[in-house]
């Protein structure tokens, strides 16, 4: 099992960022993740979301600051663990006043609940390209179970091997007590988390 820690010294937009990733080989995956060091590429990691509203364009945004750990060992699932700690104040939808509204007490209440946390409780291999994470999501201090299927793809191209991870899921914000604006603002929030790791 390869294990390593990535701690870039300087990042765009002065993001606080610390990620670590570890893999065991996905034995049957094409170009399997061999037992070597893999670095998550912070510039290619996005924690994005989308929310619908009545008579309003779909709002797309992402969280710019987070910490994450990805340890996947399919031979020893108990050793696998994925965790993300997202700074709720780092929400960015492309408008500073819209960001302020999202950070406010009405929605993310970032001063009271500075992080949104996901921590896996189990990791299951579905096939050569997919794993299922089962875990807990904590938002506004409320914890609910969340299952996420993660696509794992090798990126074509020469040089160092790179793998892409994409996870899509939908959460019901009302379950976490985020009721403001409902039903004009949709109950469902789509989450799209993508990341890329390269052999270092």
């Amino acid at each position: 099992m390869a294990n390593f820690r990535y701690a870039p010294s300087s990042l765009r937009r002065a993001e606080a960022f610390a990620l670590s990733v570890a893999f065991s080989a996905l034995p049957s995956a094409p170009g399997s993740l061999a037992a070597s060091n893999w670095a998550i590429d912070p510039t290619r990691t996005h924690i994005a979301f989308a929310v619908d509203a009545v008579a309003y364009p779909k709002t797309h945004g992402e969280f710019r600051q987070f910490e994450g750990t990805i340890v996947i060992d399919l031979e020893h699932p108990a050793k696998s663990h994925v965790a993300f700690h997202v700074q709720s104040a780092s929400v960015d939808v492309g408008s500073s006043s819209f960001n302020d509204y999202l950070r406010s007490q009405a929605l993310l209440d970032a001063s009271r609940f500075p992080t949104i946390d996901f921590s896996s409780t189990s990791v299951e291999k579905l096939d050569d390209h997919r794993v299922r994470l089962t875990g807990d999501l904590t938002l506004l201090g409320v914890t609910h179970p969340l299952d996420v299927d993660v696509d794992v793809e090798r990126r074509p191209g020469g040089g160092r091997a790179r793998f892409e991870f994409t996870a899509k899921t939908t959460i019901n914000r009302l379950e976490f007590g985020m009721n403001s604006g409902f039903p004009v603002i949709s109950r469902d929030v789509e989450l799209v988390i993508s990341s890329e790791a390269a052999e270092s």
Binding site: Y56, P57, H60, G94, S95, S97, F98, S104, S180, G181
Partner: protein, 189 residues
Amino acid sequence: MTLASEKPAERWSAAVVVLHWIGAALILGLLELGWFMVHAETDAARRFDLYQLHKSLGFLALAVLSVRLAARWATRAPAQPSSMPRWERRAASLAHGGLYAASLFAILSGWFVVSAAVVAIPTRFFDLVVVPDLPGVGPAQFDAAATSHLVAVWLLAGVIALHIAAAVKHRFVDRDGVWSRMARWPGRG
């Protein structure tokens, strides 16, 4: 103060002229922006900013209108030309009153919409100060608020169209000086 013994002014006071044109620009801008922000294909962030700008400009228009009404009250209005038939003079007075009333109705109904919105986004007046919502207003009144704003805005647009048509008639048909006492920079011949 208008005193009965004083002769009517030759032209509008400088304050009224300047506030008329600032108010005109604001109100036409608000009508255009209101239409655009609702109907244009924009992304969510841009639309959010347009709505916030519309709210800030609306409250600026309220401030300008308040000062203008005070200036209108405190200064003498020019007499209407004696060449105007009686009914026209009466219609002009009614239309001017209608412009003030419809402007105020449009702005206050906008405040009503903001206060009743289900998605309660605070009104930050140009990011300087938060304008409070109208007291006692909630989402239950949103439909009434939205309808009243729409009615007010179309009413205002109608009175503005009439006002512009009348001004153009004074300029090109009547040539009675009514146009130039508002359309020329105050103080110039």
